[in-house]
């Protein structure tokens, strides 16, 4: 039998599309801008790379302490340290342009206008294959409530990007909402080509000796295997709510975890925290998915997507 076809299409409605040679991406903020790993890993054999969250102006990020380990996971409060869009365009995009792997730029703004400017600035830059719009950040237009918790605000950020780029647009949802399907639908209607489910779950840890939060801020984002059952449930719900591709991000440590997400309906997966634990994790996940397909006699990844959804209740 031929080796299974691992390729997936993330933007089927987009004229150029966003074709990945395999469904394994690396998650934003967990792979820097890819240059570190390019020195010792074959980054071009990934499905896609998602950049560090990028803002209009450079950000220094938060003071220490930025991360803390939790049971089966970690909390982070990095504060979006990044070099800003101008340096990204000048120093990093030209390197990406020489790579044979799609790089999706994760962008975040404080206002709808900032999303528009980021999209416009990066639109025609060689090396940029598409956008991942991070809406898990405070919306200063309306007093700092997260874009991603309000369907209207989430839709307006999506529209702002959509109107200022011809590249594929993935919108990354926040899990810190009561009904994620509502937000998913609003964002899909606003023109997203695909959705990423999801960003980190807000959490905290308290130092009982110092009697203060462990991190520099009261709350941080929880990631790692601890979040997986919750995000898996959300992927299932979002896949039921929209008919655009869904990219899963939450606690994928092994290929088995990735297959769970594919069976729940995800078209691709992102490996994040796992790469901190094992720098080879994304490649192992990819190889494991291929092995699973072979053992099950499946011709392609697309053949298994969402197949757990049609189970028969006994």
């Amino acid at each position: 039998m031929d080796a299974p076809d691992l390729s997936v299409e993330l933007a089927p409605r987009h004229k150029q599309g966003l074709r990945l040679r395999n469904p394994v991406m690396v998650a934003s903020g967990t792979f820097s801008n890819g240059l570190e790993f390019a020195r010792h890993h074959d980054v071009q054999s990934l499905g896609a790379i998602v950049s560090k969250g990028t803002t209009l102006l450079p950000r220094r990020g938060n003071p220490q302490r930025r991360t803390t380990e939790t049971p089966g996971g970690m909390l982070n409060s990095i504060g979006f340290q990044n070099i800003g869009v101008e340096r990204l365009v000048r120093d990093i995009c030209p390197i990406w342009a020489t790579w044979d792997v799609p790089v999706v730029v994760n962008i975040l703004g404080d206002t709808v206008a900032e999303y528009a400017r980021l999209a416009a600035r990066l639109d025609a830059v060689p090396g940029v294959a598409g956008f991942e719009v991070n809406i898990s950040c405070p919306n200063l237009d309306v007093g700092g409530i997260e874009f991603g918790v309000d369907p209207a605000a989430a839709a307006s950020a999506t529209r702002a990007v959509r109107e200022h780029t011809s590249l594929p647009v993935v919108v990354k949802l926040t899990p810190n909402v009561t009904e994620i399907a509502l937000i998913a639908r609003a964002v899909a209607e606003a023109g997203a080509d695909a959705l990423c489910v999801a960003n980190t779950i807000m959490g905290t840890a308290i130092d009982i000796e110092q009697r203060r939060p462990v991190l520099n801020r009261p709350f941080g984002g929880l990631s790692g295997p601890a979040v997986r059952p919750i995000i898996l449930r959300m992927v299932w719900q979002v896949c039921a709510a929209v008919d655009i591709p869904v990219v899963a991000s939450g606690g994928i440590m092994t290929w088995q975890d990735a297959v769970e997400y594919l069976l729940a309906g995800a078209t691709a997966v992102q490996v994040g925290t796992a790469t901190f634990v094992d720098p080879d994790a994304p490649w192992k996940v990819r190889d494991g998915i291929a092995g699973y397909l072979e053992r099950h006699g499946e011709p392609s990844v697309t053949a298994i997507i969402g197949t757990a959804r049609t189970f028969r209740r006994d």
């Binding site: 792979f31 302490r65 490649w283």
Partner: protein
């Protein structure tokens, strides 16, 4: 093929025991690339059973050198037990498998002209120094190590150092060496030292910075910094430090920094 040239390796424990006080030594049989480390570099050691996700993150440990009993180099780690990960390490015995990523970070680059090298360690900050000192001594450099600890039993035994390396000690309770901290022993050596490398807690670095400024010492002072890490490979931005040139990452831009850039 998984990767072109991975960083992560399966290693096996050769020996693991208390070396002195509360400080343990682990020897690992590890494949070639891990054995190419240089003084100042570190590894990330996963401190959980293979399929366990708890504790999740690997732990940063300085490369304390390599032992070469029968030609086969063994990676040496020195560690203090401070939490779950290092407690897990103490339970490993010969033959156990562990996962190591490395070598990581930049090595200390000594000036070729240095004749007198001073190494200053607070507590477990001593880990990289017996090796660094031995390599320098073998090149004919005259080396002094100042090691400070709370009490005598936490001090590196002199036998752990190359025979030509001088060991000066300081204890807070005065049970051995100079009573006080490393910075109480340091002034006597400033005129002598062509170059200084220090490893220890941030308050020690601060005190050293004050001393260096007051004394007008102008030669290089390198610090081996610690900061809370998640990845150790430059991708998570956990280990940020403020330098005079902006925010830097300890794992990727360090762990060696110039004292004057930080304090």
């Amino acid at each position: 093929m998984t990767t072109t040239a991975g960083l992560r390796f399966a290693a096996s424990v050769v020996a693991n025991r208390v070396l002195y006080g509360q400080t343990w030594q682990m020897l690992l049989d590890a494949p070639g690339p891990v054995r190419a480390g240089r003084p100042g570099q570190f590894v990330m050691l996963r401190c959980a059973d293979a399929r366990s996700c708890d504790p999740l993150l690997p732990r940063a440990l300085s490369i304390a050198g390599y032992e070469r009993p029968a030609g086969r180099a063994r990676l040496r780690l020195l560690y203090d037990v401070v939490g779950r990960g290092t407690a897990w390490m103490t339970e490993r015995t010969a033959g156990d498998a562990v996962e190591v990523t490395g070598p990581l970070g930049h090595a200390v680059r000594l000036r070729p002209g240095t004749r007198h090298l001073l190494l200053v360690a607070g507590g477990i900050g001593i880990a990289p120094f017996p090796w660094m000192a031995a390599l320098a001594a073998e090149r004919g450099v005259s080396v002094t190590v100042i090691h400070g600890a709370r009490t005598a039993e936490e001090l590196l035994p002199p036998g752990e150092l190359h025979p030509e390396v001088e060991l000066v000690t300081a204890t807070e309770d005065g049970s051995a060496g100079v009573q006080g901290r490393v910075t109480d022993a340091l002034p006597d050596y400033l005129d002598w030292a062509d170059e200084i490398v220090a490893c220890g807690p941030v308050p020690m670095f601060r005190a050293m910075a004050g001393l260096v400024r007051r004394s007008g010492y102008r030669r290089p002072v390198h610090l081996l910094m610690e900061e809370i890490m998640a990845c150790g490979t430059g991708i998570c931005y956990s280990c940020a430090v403020e330098t005079r040139r902006g925010v830097r990452l300890v794992c990727k831009d360090g762990p060696v920094f110039e004292l004057r850039e930080l304090f």
